[in-house]
């Protein structure tokens, strides 16, 4: 990416561990993300990459360690709520509100949480829907849209609150192969515009072309990280090599 990357991290994970029951899913993770950076997390399922993302977004709480996102200490239960409404997240299953039109999906939080007037919210919503190429679908319900269109509405909805950081949790995994492109195209556009992004994905093409840095996770630890060239062309870690061999040669 050619956009400039700031120096002071907007995300800082310091010795973060997390268990679900007896299973340790994250072991002492240290990770920084700088403003404008596009960080892509790759790894096998169960490697802990989605958990890292969900901790950054405030959906899970770390058992130990410090988590700073946008100057909010997410490890502090009294202050963790401050992050809400300031980051965006796009989910594998879209999570659109089925009882609302595309427009209604985008305006809901603007009106209810941001207390914007209906007129202003509508204007902002039409802007972001236009940005993802769906201004002409504003009055459609999710059930009337294709998977790719639904995910683009979900991206528009996340962008409408003007988040400082966008999280993508396997945003294209539930899509038919021919619909993946329209979503990754929107994500590339965001990256070009300088959005700070943390992306969990199985789309190695996206990781290679769009990431500033790729982090390979394995069994709850960061096994290797570097610029895409380093990870994809000259991986050092044996587990990275095996993983890439599996996902690229099928």
């Amino acid at each position: 990416m050619t956009t400039s990357i700031g120096s002071k991290p907007v995300i800082n994970l310091n010795g973060v561990s997390k268990s679900f029951g007896a299973t340790k899913v994250l072991k002492e993770i240290n990770l920084e993300v700088r403003p404008g950076e596009v960080l892509v997390l790759i790894g096998a399922s169960g490697s802990g990459k989605s958990t890292v993302l969900r901790i950054m977004a405030g959906l899970e709480t770390a058992d130990s360690g410090e988590v700073w996102v946008n100057d909010v200490p997410l490890h502090d239960v009294r202050r963790a709520k401050e992050i809400r409404g300031h980051v965006g997240m796009v989910f594998q299953q879209f999570n659109l509100f089925p009882h609302k039109t595309a427009l209604g999906n985008v305006t809901l939080a603007l009106i209810k949480a941001r207390k914007m007037s209906a007129v202003d919210a509508r204007k902002r919503a039409m802007d972001v829907l236009d940005r993802v190429g769906l201004a002409d679908r504003a009055e459609h319900y999710p059930s009337q849209l294709s998977g790719g269109q639904q995910q683009r509405v979900a991206i528009a909805r996340a962008l409408a609150v003007e988040p400082g950081i966008m999280f993508f949790d396997e945003a294209t995994s539930a899509l038919d192969p021919e619909l993946v492109g329209e979503v990754t195209e929107v994500m590339r556009g965001l990256a070009r515009d300088g959005m700070t992004m943390v992306v969990v994905t199985h789309e190695m093409g996206f990781a290679r072309k769009t990431a500033d840095r790729v982090v390979f996770m394995d069994k709850g630890v960061i096994a290797e990280q570097g610029v895409p060239e380093e990870i994809f062309v000259t991986p050092q870690n044996e587990r990275t090599k095996q993983f890439l061999h599996r996902v690229l040669d099928h």
Binding site: L108, A109, A113
Partner: protein, 215 residues
């Protein structure tokens, strides 16, 4: 049955039917509010209130409606107060049916995927806002058929309120039989009147179920 008996009976029974409908309507409103409250407390309330809500639903689902009605009607006078028999009927049916309606709402709330809560949290919506703007509107579609089914059962349960002396449809039928006999004809007529009220509702549920199966 003579025409004269039929017309006299019908006028008494229709009078009772009005009471049945009023009792049903008031209990449906009361039961729905109590049920919704109990469902919300059980799903999201602080620990203590969730336990109380659970105890409430289990208690009334495990006892006959007649016992509930007796407890309310005679219990209130036991403590030295008087309660109107219609009011006792409304309170008894609301509290009793509320326990079932709570379970209908609870299954509807739980059917809404966790992701809806998560995305709402990220977007900055509070829990209450999420419940009323995101979750509750989605439960409508899921709970409406079983909810109407529960209302049907409530309407039929109003006949039991005749046992504490309310002059509703069933009570009207009993009064006629006491005077002129002919239980088969009179109770047959009573049954027809209940059926006329309930049948359209059950048809609506069937229609709705078929439609949601198709969609």
């Amino acid at each position: 049955m003579s025409t004269e008996l039929l017309t006299t009976s019908l006028s008494i029974l229709l009078h009772g039917l009005v009471a049945t409908l009023l009792l049903s309507a008031a209990s449906i409103v009361g039961g729905t509010l109590i049920g919704l409250l109990a469902a919300v407390l059980r799903s999201f309330g602080p620990w203590g209130s969730a336990r109380v809500a659970k105890l409430y639903t289990e208690l009334f689902r495990g006892t006959p409606v007649l016992i509930t009605l007796m407890f309310i009607y005679f219990g209130v006078s036991y403590f030295g107060y008087a309660i109107d028999v219609f009011a006792a009927g409304v309170v008894g049916l609301s509290v009793y049916q509320g326990a079932y309606i709570a379970e209908v709402f609870r299954s509807g709330i739980e059917a809404v995927p966790e992701g809806q809560w998560e995305v709402s949290q990220i977007l900055g919506l509070g829990k209450t806002q999420t419940f009323f703007s995101v979750v509750l509107p989605q439960t409508g579609k899921i709970v409406l058929p079983p909810l109407i089914g529960q209302y049907l059962s409530l309407i039929k349960d109003t006949s039991i309120v005749s046992m504490i002396g309310l002059s509703e449809l069933m009570h009207g039928g009993q009064a006629i039989v006491d005077r002129v006999g002919k239980p088969v004809e009179i109770y047959g007529l009573v049954a027809v009147l209940y059926f006329v009220v309930c049948f359209p509702l059950s048809q609506w549920v069937r229609h709705h179920d078929r439609r949601s199966l198709l969609s």
